[in-house]
């Protein structure tokens, strides 16, 4: 494992209902620092399950996940410490509705990283400015549009200074006219060198931003390559038929 490998996945399997459903059926891959890996595939292919296994929101049935050299699937590993370094953005935002935007952004850095209120708020404000939402700091999540919520959710993860960001279909629940504003924030993040793993149906985003596209089906990685190769020179029949449907 090279020094630049941030996540290494070995023989990852996730079964549901005692093995009746094989959501992940043997995944081996690596994510390098600074890489933007976009995971595509039909629904039910296991791509969301794969992403959720990376920070153990789903407990793998078998296999190992090494994050920055530590086997996080080992029982002796305190996953809470590693999750601080892995931001996650959800399809349904999952902002905390009982807190203002500012509180949403500062609670984790204050409680977990021991930052003072001033430090946490200063960083939160700087990040809010970057996504153009500094005027919504005192709003409650229900007063925001979907696109604004998702940008806040991204900022909430960034406030923890993560080494990698996981995006689980971040634009799937958005009205079409709001997709752009969220993708713009993600593109900016990618340009700034953030390591990202993104599950999405936005093929345009994959083509433009990904350093590598991973195509999954039936719990396996079928093909992975540069976006150019994946979209213009697909090898497997399954990828070809998938692209024919979505493009």
């Amino acid at each position: 494992m090279s020094a630049d490998t941030i996540i290494k996945v070995e023989g990852l399997r996730k079964y549901f209902k005692g093995g009746a459903i094989k959501a992940l059926d043997g995944i081996d891959t690596e994510i390098q620092r600074g890489e933007v890996v976009v995971i595509i595939g039909p629904s039910g292919s296991g791509k969301s399950t794969f992403l959720r296994c990376l920070n153990l929101l789903e407990m793998p049935t078998a296999g190992r996940i090494l994050f920055e050299g530590t086997d996080i699937t080992a029982r002796s590993t305190n996953i809470n410490l590693h999750r601080r370094k892995m931001g996650m953005v959800f399809q349904l935002f999952n902002l905390f509705p009982h807190m203002t935007v500012m509180k949403n952004l500062t609670i984790a850095p204050m409680k977990l990283l021991g930052k003072t209120k001033e430090e946490a708020e200063e960083k939160a404000l700087a990040l809010l400015r970057r996504v153009g939402l500094e005027d919504r700091a005192e709003a409650y999540p229900n007063q925001l549009s979907g696109g604004q919520k998702q940008r806040i959710a991204i900022v909430r993860s960034l406030c923890m200074d993560p080494d990698v960001m996981l995006f689980d279909e971040p634009t799937s629940a958005l009205d079409p006219e709001m997709v752009g504003e969220v993708l713009d924030v993600m593109k900016q993040l990618a340009r700034d060198g953030m390591t990202m793993a993104v599950v999405t149906h936005e093929m345009g985003f994959a083509r433009e931003v990904a350093s590598r596209v991973v195509f999954m089906d039936n719990g396996r990685i079928i093909e992975q390559n540069t976006p150019n190769e994946i979209f213009n020179n697909p090898q497997s029949d399954r990828l070809k038929s998938f692209l024919a449907k979505v493009l």
């Binding site: 959800f90 409680k111 977990l112």
Partner: protein, 242 residues
């Protein structure tokens, strides 16, 4: 008409004024209130423990590593489930009689037995109120908290429980109302509560109308007062969000 009013007045004097019989109602009301609130406090304590076990089990058992902790949690969950099932499946009067004549047979103070019985009884209902409130919070909230690096207890404390509160508080006040009325059966174990007090007056005066309607009116006024608080609270909790 004036004849009727005259008779009502005589009835009132006979049942409440003569021999200071109003004391039966006042003393009875005091016993009813003491039993109700003491039982609710016991119920909240039991409910908190049972709901914690039940919802921790339901939320984490799938992702827990096999081992001693998981086994203990499963056993605790079974006990809590059994408790809730039994308590909710047996009439409270029967529970009261079992408590008085069998379990707490050495305790001669009916009020204490009443408090314990209704406390244990209400614990099962309160547990389900707490559990329902916690489970009603979107599971995505737990995931968001955990993905930031909060552990289970921290996520519960900062994120899930504060949101569960707005489901829990009105339901808890409704439990208070139910408990207040249910305690009327403590007369079975010789406690002189409000209902029993009214019945004692009836036995003395052989005039059932005044004491029974009097007691009914007192219950009604208290319940209406509690309901008014519930309504106010629900409106306030609703406006704080959405």
């Amino acid at each position: 008409m004036s004849d009727w009013i005259e008779r009502l007045k005589d009835e009132f004097i006979l049942n409440f004024v003569e021999d200071d019989r109003w004391r039966y109602l006042v003393d009875g009301l005091r016993a009813t209130i003491i039993i109700t609130f003491s039982a609710l406090i016991i119920g909240i304590v039991i409910g908190l423990v049972v709901a914690t076990v039940r919802s921790t089990h339901d939320k984490t058992i799938e992702t827990m590593h096999p081992g001693i902790g998981r086994t203990i949690l499963k056993i605790l969950n079974f006990i809590c489930k059994l408790y809730v099932t039994v308590i909710r499946g047996v009439p409270v009067v029967v529970q009261l009689l079992i408590a008085y004549f069998i379990i707490f047979v050495s305790v001669t103070n009916g009020v204490v037995v009443g408090i314990l019985t209704f406390g244990i009884n209400s614990g099962a209902y309160v547990a389900e109120i707490f559990r329902g409130g916690i489970m009603a919070v979107d599971p995505g909230q737990m995931e968001a908290g955990r993905s930031l690096g909060f552990n289970y207890v921290q996520t519960m404390r900062y994120i899930v429980v504060p949101q569960a509160f707005k489901h829990i508080l009105p339901a808890l006040l409704n439990e208070l109302i139910a408990l207040f009325k249910e305690t009327a059966v403590v007369g079975y174990v010789a406690v002189k509560d409000l209902t029993k007090g009214a019945d004692i007056i009836r036995g003395r005066t052989f005039s059932p109308f005044m004491p029974l309607f009097g007691a009914a009116l007192i219950y009604l006024v208290f319940v209406m007062f509690f309901s008014w608080i519930v309504g106010k609270l629900e409106r306030r909790l609703r406006t704080s969000e959405r």
